[in-house]
């Protein structure tokens, strides 16, 4: 039983990371309708920035906040400069543009900062508690705490502020919003900006215990895609719940399904397939009705 609970905690720890990045993907998708392949690499660049600031003797938390602020501006700038010109193009063109960004950001980050493994200082002490033989690490607690904080802030921002109202209006119907005077362009930039900032935070926290390198975000991005699809691409709540499910499914596969224990992706993707067959828009996604 304690082994089960330990693996559950392990799963929740990694799931919290997938959930954060999935949340970023969902924010971008809800506003601009884009599947952002470059989300992980944007987070990678932000994490390199954190590393860079700590190299210049800034405290870690300050470095993370600074990087988040820069990422916020950077995300908005990317939307305005790179995405806006092709906003009306077909979804495939947008996918190719984000793939181009993926390649470019990854490679520029490595040229700029070097392609060796970077050590990122931890933002908090590394501790493990063993209540009743169940292993709980400070990593897991911090990741889950940060995820909850992100959810709370997003909820308050989107549901309790005027900006949030405008943001939701744009997400559900850009044309009508424009007509009633909502600054649509700015809201789109806001979506990208928030996504970039969330990615920066998730990146800095997940990379600290394992070292930073050019490929750090790629497998996490695949899991985040899986989570976003499972939860429903237009549902932030779905992304969070599905992220945790995907994380736990992974560790449980390793522990209990010995036939596939080193291919832990089988279960999450199996899950996605089953869920999408029953609910083609994901667990929490809304179904679109098409008028003929």
């Amino acid at each position: 039983m304690s082994l089960f609970l330990t693996q559950l905690m392990n799963g929740i720890g990694s799931g919290a990371v997938y959930a954060s990045l999935a949340l970023a993907l969902v924010l971008v998708f809800r506003t601009t309708g884009i599947l952002n392949f470059a989300q992980g690499e944007m987070a990678l660049y932000s994490t390199y920035l954190v590393w860079y600031f700590t190299q210049h003797d800034l405290p870690v938390w300050i470095a993370i906040l600074l990087s988040m602020a820069i990422s916020f501006v950077g995300g908005a700038a990317i939307e305005r400069v790179l995405i806006r010109p092709v906003e009306q193009a077909s979804p495939l063109v947008l996918v190719i543009v984000t793939i181009g960004m993926f390649l470019a950001i990854n490679s520029i980050a490595q040229v700029q900062f070097g392609n060796d493994i970077k050590l990122l200082p931890r933002a908090y002490p590394n501790k493990t508690w063993l209540p009743g033989n169940v292993q709980i690490s400070s990593d897991t607690l911090v990741l889950v705490g940060v995820l909850l904080a992100e959810c709370l802030i997003l909820y308050l921002l989107l549901n309790r502020t005027r900006i949030g109202l405008a943001f939701r209006a744009v997400a559900s119907n850009p044309e009508s919003s424009r007509l009633v005077g909502v600054p649509v362009g700015r809201m789109l930039m806001l979506g990208w900006a928030m996504a970039a900032a969330i990615g920066a935070l998730a990146g800095a926290l997940v990379v600290a215990p394992v070292g930073l390198q050019g490929a750090s975000m790629q497998s996490i991005l695949v899991y985040a895609f899986a989570s976003a699809a499972l939860g429903g691409f237009d549902s932030p709540l779905g992304a969070v719940v599905a992220g945790l499910i995907v994380g736990v499914a992974g560790t449980m596969t390793t522990q209990y399904l010995h036939a596939v224990h080193d291919i832990e992706l089988v279960v999450p993707f199996g899950l996605i397939l089953v869920v999408l067959l029953v609910r083609p828009s994901g667990l929490f996604g809304s179904t679109r009705v098409e008028r003929v």
Binding site: F29, L35, L82, P85, V86, A89, S90, P91, L92, V93, V95, I96, V97, I99, G100, M101, F102, L103, A104, I105, N106, S107, I108, Q110, V111, N115, Q218, S219, V222, F225, A226, A228, A229, F233, V260, D262, I263, L265, V266, F269, I272, L273, L276, L277, P280, S281, G282, E290, V292
Partner: protein, 359 residues
């Protein structure tokens, strides 16, 4: 009048393409070239073939897949296993690989009916990520027959030579791979051209443009979609077979399968979705840019000394930025954009003599 214009455009385009192809391939005779470049051409051909297949699905039928690397891998492993463990000649493995890919394509195509757009893309992403993990677990290694415990899925021990029936000017494996891939590419191009002009081709487009409307005119949507999926899988699988001939090994990792899937999608969009030749041209471009971008770096850029390591790291950035710029300039791809520009040009030319036709 209108029809005439279309015909003229087509004639001009066809002429340009034929002259271009004659220049490229007539100029390129593998017997006088070093094998690395010949292999690169062969790779360009098979990536082009797979991209044309994906275009049938994504361009003509509107189903986005970022998982065709899995079908590519299926063809690759089928051919490699038959050649290595059962001593089949390459050509004999082709129909098996194609049929198997088609069959698996049907199997995947059915559940894909339920899922649309982005969600379909992500389910297929799952295919791309899972396939290599399955091979690494279940494909037997040479070791397996002796020890029984291996889980390793690489098949890196393939020795290749041109078969005895090939003409004597095909001496070496690179030349054999080149002509085999070229022949397959020609067949594939003719295949796509025929499909697109057929009744089935029109059904593909009708389903893409408006499912409900297509249904009302009696098109069996499920059948069309599943066959589109399976046909594109067949193209990818056949291309995967050629991979074995060119690289002399079979290997799949999540990174490489994902990368091939993405390359194919890039090739389709760069070349021109829903055009016959566009994706093939896109595939050739993708393969060649991969090699020549890093080779054509200057030694220094302003004050910046570019060493080998920087070259290797920076070339994806050049490719990525190039992709973004291309999408700004030609969002409908090289062939699509070229056609659009040519049509406009011809209209202008004619417009001087006759009044523009209302459209």
């Amino acid at each position: 009048m209108n029809l005439d214009r279309v015909h003229v455009t087509r004639l001009v385009l066809a002429l340009v393409l034929v002259v271009g192809a004659a220049y490229l391939f007539g100029w390129y005779i593998p017997q006088f070239k070093e094998s690395a470049t010949t292999y690169l051409w062969a790779e360009a051909f098979y990536i082009g073939v797979a991209a044309m297949g994906l275009n049938l699905l994504t361009g003509y039928n509107g189903q986005v897949s970022i998982g065709h690397g899995a079908f590519f891998g299926l063809g690759m492993y089928t051919t490699a296993i038959l050649m290595q463990s059962h001593n089949w000649p390459f050509v004999a493995t082709l129909p098996v690989a194609a049929a198997l890919s088609f069959a698996v394509g049907v199997l995947v195509g059915f559940p894909a009916l339920r899922v649309k757009g982005l969600y379909l893309a992500l389910v297929t992403l799952g295919l791309a990520v899972l396939f290599p993990q399955l091979t690494s677990r279940f494909v037997p290694h040479d070791l397996c027959r002796t020890c029984g415990t291996s889980q390793v899925g690489e098949l890196p021990r393939i020795k290749l030579r041109p078969p005895s029936w090939t003409p004597t000017f095909i001496k070496f494996n690179d030349q054999w791979a080149y002509y085999a891939a070229l022949a397959i590419a020609v067949i594939a191009i003719v295949g796509v051209a025929l499909i697109v002009r057929s009744r089935f081709g029109r059904a593909l487009i009708a389903v893409r443009d408006h499912e409900a409307a297509a249904e009302t005119v009696g098109i069996n949507i499920a059948r069309v979609k599943v066959i589109a999926f399976a046909t594109s899988a067949l193209y990818a699988g056949t291309a995967g077979s050629c991979f074995v001939l060119v690289k002399r090994l079979a290997t799949a990792s999540s990174a490489s399968t994902f990368q091939i899937s993405i390359e194919l999608l890039v090739a389709v969009v760069v070349g021109g979705t829903a055009t016959v030749l566009g994706p093939f041209i896109g595939g050739v471009l993708v393969v060649f840019s991969d090699r020549y971008i890093s080779e054509s770096f200057p030694k220094t850029l302003l004050f910046w000394h570019i060493n080998d390591s920087v070259k290797n790291l920076l070339s994806p950035a050049i490719f990525g930025i190039g992709l973004i710029l291309l999408m700004y300039v030609l969002p409908d791809g090289i062939v699509g954009g070229g056609r659009r520009i040519a049509t406009v040009a011809i209209r202008r030319l004619r417009g001087r003599r006759t009044s523009p036709a209302p459209t």
